[in-house]
């Protein structure tokens, strides 16, 4: 099959996650378009695309897996989701906010955005960071961006 196998993804080393939630803050900041982290976060709800869950005494940061067979892309009623170079992206201009993608994502990785269109991790490729802000800002190296089989 003609699929792109060489693909970096975000993975989590569960044992190293401190549960500090800095990734949620950095994600919100990186995707806010704000000039600095204070204006991005002050007095606003966290609009993070990564979510830290409690798990069995541990914590677990979760974001889009950029699945090989992305059910969100296949299900989008607007043709607004697509996979480009291994990254699943939402075309905000086309999304009508129906939330079908939220209804199908098995990882709960797509969230409702404040502007009515969906938001999800796009690996910070198109924002000012250029590379995953959650990874860069993780103080304990628990979130990594690498290729695995």
């Amino acid at each position: 099959m003609l699929v792109n196998n060489a693909m970096k993804r975000i993975y989590v080393n569960k044992k190293w996650c401190l549960g500090c939630r800095l990734c949620e803050y950095n994600c919100t900041y990186a995707n806010s378009g704000a000039m600095n982290i204070i204006t991005a976060l002050k007095d606003k709800p966290l609009r993070s695309r990564i979510k830290v869950e409690e798990y069995d005494g541990d914590t677990l940061p979760l974001s889009c897996r950029h699945c090989e067979e992305p059910i969100c892309v296949k299900s989008c009623i607007a043709g607004a989701l697509s996979k480009v170079g291994g990254v699943i992206k939402i075309n905000h201009n086309k999304c009508v906010g129906c939330c079908t993608c939220i209804s199908v994502c098995p990882y709960g990785a797509i969230m409702h955005g404040e502007d009515g269109v969906m938001r999800k991790c796009e690996l910070c490729i198109d924002n000012a960071f250029g590379a995953p802000a959650c990874v860069a800002g993780c103080p304990n190296g628990a979130i990594v961006y690498e290729e695995r089989d």
């Binding site: 979760l62 939330c99 199908v104």
Partner: protein
Amino acid sequence: MKRYVIIGNGAATIGAVEGIRRLDSEGPITIISSEPYHTYARPLISYYIEGKTDRERMKYRPDDFYEKNDCEFLAGKTAVKIDPAAKSVTLDDGSVVSYDKLCYAAGSSSFIPAFRGLETVSESDRFTFMTLDDAERLKARIEPGLSVLIVGAGLIGLKCAECIYGKVGAITVVDLAPRILSSILEEKSASIVQRHLEGKGLNFILNDSVDEFHGHIAIMKSGIRQFFDIVVLAVGVRPNVALMKEAGARVNRGVSTDRHMYTGVDGIYAAGDCTETFDVSCGETRILALMPNAYMQGECAGINMAGGDCDFENAVPMNAIKLLGLHISTAGSYIGDVIERENTADSTYTRFYVDGGLLRGYIMLGEPYRNGIYTSIIRNQIPIDKIDFETLIKSPSISAMGESYICQLERKV
């Protein structure tokens, strides 16, 4: 080199093209489409009238889709006959296209019952709501002050009501069923949604139906006389199956296929609204006229047409719609015991249906939050004693799904 032909131009067709091209970049594909337009997202016709999208943005794939996928796009051509012996399709202009593999993805059409006196309503005041042409006609006709009667309080009727809301005068919706959205909501959730819509000003006449039209008056079975300027007939859709019947395929309500989307007629596959699907949430084969289903069936058909091996399984009915600000997310079948969850914090109301140790379905009103995790439990028939269901129904999470689910996160999926 294989020659592929697809009848249709909706989600199932696009899925078939993308499925074929995963394996075969060479074989020519011919797409035969009655509608003369670049492939568009059918559910977006209501957003188009509402002004939330436009003809450009509602395209289901980019402008270069056909070219990039090496497809010959026969726009505005209708297939009138399939000859399985000659492996050819005859078009309405008399031309003949031959195939090695054919995908039948003709979708469905608005069903209009034989109402008495329907002909007394002038044609320019009668509408259906299924195609871009329907939407253009309606968009051109609506104006402030117009009284609108919508026959059918299903998904299509209510999406239509929503998109003309605020652009016309009174909107009245009539349905034979005792509740609105009767195919996807039960009584309690339907009444919550109904109250919400009534609060916005929509009128409902339920448990009733039009007995007769008298020009611009609809006389209901109950005797109610409802005046209207225009009427939208949204009672339901019927799968387009005629060509497949004539071709000798097995057709019940929709075209019957196996898990490969193969119809049993040499070289012919079928996908989308025109087919029947095995619904894992209830164990029955039925029509699932839904966009995600159409795409995935098409993709599966395409892969198999190109010589691959793909099974279409795990299909579940699923709806995610918003009506005048209220989100409705449903999945599966409403079988078994009910667990209700009312969350005042985010004002959501959810009903879960549990039967035989499995989550069979849910109905969720209010802004959806990670409910794909629930859908995945239904789709994959994960026994609820294998997960922390108590925690999950309070709030969906991956951690409550258990170790094996979490392990998936460490692999490529």
